[in-house]
């Protein structure tokens, strides 16, 4: 691990140096494996936050009773090493040739692979239209906030909003999607990523709006155990 970027109080990006890294496709992830001195192992998947051509980076959200995320967000220092398997994934990926317009919906840390897609779109000077709908609990929880600013990003803050906030202030529902998602006539390609309940709600909402099911890609994140 070569460098650390603190994105929010609970979220950190780790920039990695991976000898022999073959490059990756936007949307892919890696499996991180940690081995303790006594041989104990734990493994978790993390989406690549970087675009193809950029140095590989992963963004991790610290889960309160997590086994791996506290270590990666609090203990790891530049120079530390861990095993990485990948890049992995062929379904939840976007290449400029796949076209659009792109409708990206992120719940919390689900924004990570979508940010890689947006960066790749920008780096490759693609003319494909893209819009990101990003659900976070509070302003402080928005990952990559400075970077994800502009007409093509719509935020909703579900738990608390700063005074003067004029944006959406509720969990994503079909009504919100109707106002934000590209119209069906444009032939959009959707990528939805986040906790399972977010993904199911958004995917169902997009289908209600008439989106073609095979043009809705989903990736569910979750704790691998929890309480």
């Amino acid at each position: 691990m070569s460098a650390v970027v603190d994105e929010t109080p609970r979220v950190r990006t780790l920039e990695l140096e991976i000898p022999g890294w073959p490059g990756h496709v936007a949307g892919q992830h890696v499996d991180v494996r940690l081995t303790a001195e006594d041989g104990y192992r734990a493994e978790r998947p993390y989406s690549l936050a970087s675009a193809p051509g950029e140095a590989p980076a992963i963004t991790i959200q610290r889960l309160e009773d997590g086994e791996v995320s506290p270590y990666l967000t609090e203990d790891v220092r530049p120079g530390d090493r861990f095993e990485v398997r990948g890049p992995i994934g062929g379904y939840f990926v976007w290449r400029p040739n796949d076209g659009g317009p792109l409708f990206l919906a992120a719940g919390g840390s689900g924004v990570v692979p979508l940010r890689a897609i947006l960066r790749h779109r920008r780096n490759s000077m693609s003319e494909v239209r893209a819009r990101l709908l990003y659900s976070s609990r509070t302003l402080e929880d928005i990952i990559y906030r400075a970077e994800l600013d502009g007409d093509d990003v719509v935020h909703t803050l579900t738990r608390a909003q700063p005074s003067g906030w004029t944006g959406y202030a509720r969990r994503v529902d079909t009504g919100l999607l109707r106002e934000v998602a590209w119209p069906v006539e444009d032939g959009p390609l959707a990528f939805v990523c986040g906790p399972t309940s977010f993904v199911e709600t958004v995917a169902a909402g997009l289908i209600d709006l008439g989106y073609v099911p095979t043009r809705i890609k989903t990736e569910r994140f979750g704790a691998t155990g929890g309480r």
Binding site: H29, D31, P45, R85, G86, I88, G89, G90, Y91, F92, P195, T196, S197, K217, T218, E219, R220, F221, G222, T224, G225, G226
Partner: protein
Amino acid sequence: MEALDGNAIGGMLYQVFGGEMTMAQAVCRRCGARAPLAECAVYLGGPGVVVRCRACHNIVMVLVEVRQMVCVDLSGLSKLEQPE
């Protein structure tokens, strides 16, 4: 606990099958529903990984890591096909 999906086990599937599998179309033996593995319901069930058909909840695949070897039971699938 809520199910994840086949994306979460992409690495394990790669290891077992020797290639990218999340786009492979799985056909449920019980109900005939067809979906990419990436869209199937995945339960990281502790002792092993259980993959279920989203339409009928039947088990389509079970993966267990036994002494660093992954054993896979595909008996819930009638077909598993890579896309063209």
